[in-house]
Each structure stands twice: as C-alpha cells, then as structure tokens.
C-alpha cells in the first residue's frame, strides 16, 4: 500500500496497473474521462483481472440499484401546505 500511494496513479503509463490503482479509476472510466492510453491501460487490466471486472460490475449494479431509490414520501401535511402555497400564488395573480 505504501509503495502504491507514493507512486501514485499517474505512474509511468508503460507499466501495467495493479488492482489497487484500477479500482480508483472506475468512476473516471464510467464517466468517459479516461482517454487514450489511460483507458487502454485500464481496459487491459480488466481483461486480465476477474476481480476488478467483478468490482466494476458491482459499481454498475450499485448505480442501477441507487436509481431505484425513491427519495422519500410526501407527508400529508406537506401536501396540504404545498397545495395551499399553490392557491395563494394563484391569488397573487
């Protein structure tokens, strides 16, 4: 770990990624922000690493499941308040 954090993620592009670096690039990859050699290096690592492939799949699944979360119900009181607010605004006219 010490070695890796010292070396940093920008370490020589010629060298392959290790898993600990690859997992930190997952969001950049999904955001389309890994370009050219960086992206090829990441994809090359994935192609040879079932664990990081699994990790990427888990992040994708996490995103998909997060999309199912409903952010909370409207309480009856809030519904009443906001309907009142609408009617007052209408009267402002």
């Amino acid at each position: 770990m010490r070695l890796i954090s010292r070396r940093g993620l920008g370490a020589g592009l010629g060298r392959g990624l290790v898993c600990q670096q690859a997992v930190e690039l997952v969001t950049l990859y999904l955001e389309g922000a890994l370009r050219g050699a960086e992206r090829r290096r990441f994809e090359k690592h994935l192609a040879g690493c079932p664990h990081c492939t699994e990790y990427l799949a888990q992040i994708r699944e996490t995103i998909r499941l997060a999309g199912r979360v409903t952010p909370g119900d409207l309480t009856p009181q809030m519904r009443v308040d906001l309907t009142d607010l609408y009617r007052r605004w209408r009267e402002e006219g």
């Binding site: 996490t62 998909r64 199912r68």
Partner: protein
C-alpha cells in the same frame, strides 16, 4: 444576494455539452427504468403554465423528496429544510413566466433550491472534497503488490433474489443519508435523480473534477454497504 454561490445560473452551453459521448454506455440507467410511464416534465410544465393545479401536485410528488434531501445537507434541521423547500416551490411558481427552458426544468429547480439552501445554511466555505480522500476499497483488501488479497465476492445478479426490493432500497437510502454531505448531494442528483454530470456541476456550483471525486467516494461507500449485506462475511 452576496453569497458567492448565489449566482450559479445554468450554463447556456449545457444542451450542447450534454451530447458529449459517454463511453462505455451507462449501465441500466435508461429513464424508463426508473420513471415508468411518467408524464415528462415538459408536459407538466405546459399544464402548469396553463394553470393546472394537478400538474403542480404531480411535480411536487416527483421532486419534493429529493429537494428535501438536498436541502437537508445544507441546513441543520428538517424544519428549516422544509421551509427552504417551500420557498423554492414558491420561487419556481413565481419564476415560471421567466423560465426560458435553457436548462431542464429539474436542473433549474434544483439550482434554485441549492442556492437558497446554501444561503440559509450559511455553511462556511465547503470543505475541499480531497479531505475525504481515503481509498475506495480498504487497503487491507490488497496484498503488498497491490493486487486483491480479499477479492470482492460475486453478488451482482443475486442482489434482488437475496433481499426483498423494499429492504434493498431502504438499505441504500440510509447508506446515502450517512454519506458526507457533498457526496450525498452528488449521488442523489446523479444516481437517484439521474441528472447528467454537467447538470450536477451547475446545480451544486462545483467543477467536473470535484464532481467525479465526490461521486467516486459516494458510490464506493454504497457498494461497500451492499457488499456487507450481500457478500457474506465481509
């Protein structure tokens, strides 16, 4: 308004920027996935402008929850957050006539909310996200050469078989609530509401780079929570 955050107007170039190709394609985030058979915002906007109260109620039902959660990350209490959200709805109604549709309706509404919540919360300059720059996977999971020593267990296709859907979303909802405020804001807008990264940057007045860091940390923590629940002993 003197707050430096109060001038976050949606970027005029947003529509153009939104066409930037994202590769690989986003997994399973088709709108139809999360918003089954809902009337588009544009249609609600049209009805609202025509004076249809039900359109307002529908809009409130769609967005009030996320607005409240977003407001809560800026202000100290639920009561204050509810006030900010009500103020925002009033500002939305009053601003309808002047809304030109240069950003999407929800981006416009979330921007109004974020600006108000920020002003109300008077939160001191928000901490730099790098302050929370721990690894997204605990270092103990890797060997000295940086490869997995405790690799992730497989659970992806099994999640929904092993946990009832309501429990799964409840788990994620409380995991989101316990994220640091800025990560929570980004995850809420990106992954729950489905805004684009450009929209999120505009609403929260943060850079693309910051947005990515926050999203990375936030998603990483949500994954950990799922793994703890689904991945056996870890």
């Amino acid at each position: 308004m003197s707050s430096p955050w109060a001038c976050a107007v949606p970027d005029l170039r947003e529509d153009r920027l939104r066409t930037v190709v994202v590769w690989p394609p986003q997994p399973g985030r088709a709108v139809s996935d999360t918003l089954p058979a809902m009337e588009p915002d544009e249609e609600l906007l049209r009805r609202l402008r025509a004076g249809d109260e039900q359109a307002f109620v529908a809009l409130v039902e769609r967005y009030n929850g996320s607005m409240l959660r977003l407001a809560l990350s800026f202000v100290p209490s639920r009561a204050v957050a509810e006030e900010v959200v009500q103020d925002t709805w009033l500002a939305v109604l009053r601003g309808l006539a002047g809304f030109e549709g240069r950003s999407s309706l929800r981006t416009w509404m979330f921007t109004i909310l974020a600006n108000r919540a920020r002003t109300t919360g008077a939160r001191e300059l928000r901490s730099i996200p790098v302050a929370d720059a721990g690894p997204v996977v605990d270092a103990s999971r890797f060997g000295p050469d940086g490869s997995w020593s405790v690799p992730p267990e497989h659970w992806v296709e099994e999640a929904e078989e092993r946990i009832e859907a309501g429990k799964l979303t409840g788990l994620l909802r409380s995991a989101m609530d316990s994220l640091p405020a800025r990560q929570r804001e980004v995850v809420l807008l990106r992954d729950v509401e489905g805004l684009t990264s450009t929209e999120v940057c505009s609403v929260l007045a943060i850079s693309e780079a910051n947005q990515r860091v926050l999203l990375h940390r936030g998603r990483g923590k949500l994954r950990q929570v799922l793994e703890a629940e689904l991945g056996g002993s870890r």
